[in-house]
Symmetry: C2
């Protein structure tokens, strides 16, 4: 069925981030749409950020384009250029290889909802986190000196 029954797709706030980096995304509740929907050429996630939650640690991807469509509620986009309020109907784009770490922070008192879509090879992807001592790649999470973290990236 092309119109997704979002409520029928399981929601989780799981993260592979090692502590203490996991705390920022505890209020990030998401549904993986691509496997539920049979999409194989893109990733797609439906995300609800509780008040106070971040969408991720601030990061960028070498190998994947990302696009976010804001559906409901309000958040602040934080990237290298500063802070930008975003709300329903806004479209945010993060081209592969642009080393501009970004994330969303829900500073409102209501949930905010968006869909994030990615394309490119997830397996070959890598990237960096702007504000913390962490990078990611095919092997998982590591410090910037290459020392692995003990947690696994989630699929």
């Amino acid at each position: 069925m092309p119109k997704l029954e979002l409520d029928a797709i399981s929601q989780t706030n799981a993260t592979g981030y090692p502590p203490p980096f996991d705390a920022a995304v505890e209020g990030r509740w998401y549904r993986r749409l691509a496997p539920a929907a049979g999409l194989t050429l893109m990733g797609a996630t439906h995300v609800t950020l509780a008040p106070g939650a971040y969408s991720s640690q601030r990061h960028w991807h070498r190998g994947q384009d990302e696009l976010v469509v804001m559906i409901a509620g309000h958040a602040v986009l934080i990237d290298d250029s500063g802070e930008t309020p975003v709300g329903p109907g806004d479209v945010l784009v993060f081209p592969a290889g642009e080393a501009n770490g970004h994330h969303l922070h829900n500073r409102s008192d209501a949930p905010c909802v968006f869909v994030a879509v990615s394309a490119g090879s997830r397996e070959a992807d890598s990237g960096e986190y702007s504000d913390i001592d962490m990078v990611f790649g095919p092997e998982g999470y590591a410090r910037k000196d290459g020392t692995p973290y003990p947690t696994q990236r989630l699929p």
Copy 2:
């Protein structure tokens, strides 16, 4: 700038459909986001359907996943399973190779707005139109017997 200034991106209702198939999308006004935003691994289009307009002729893709996020207004999704009302916050998915022709029809008296994202090889893509004597592929538009139409697909 990750948050797109949508009003600054040129909008068009151009189509490569040969007549008389072009009439259905005369009220489809769209902005190509990917080239404007530097995305190279996905296609992305911001679409406003005037009352009465269709998103496309009913079609499906062999080589591209498609995902639509409804932002504002209401439309009817038409596919092989029938008609489904869609509105803000709905997410529609069309996996590559699923031969289920689909399009949206704005039957309301207000515009409807959505973002459509695609991934996969556009150059190698092909597909079919469900309700008319037309197919598409790397060479462009043709009748189902292979006779080319004189118009070109738009990039």
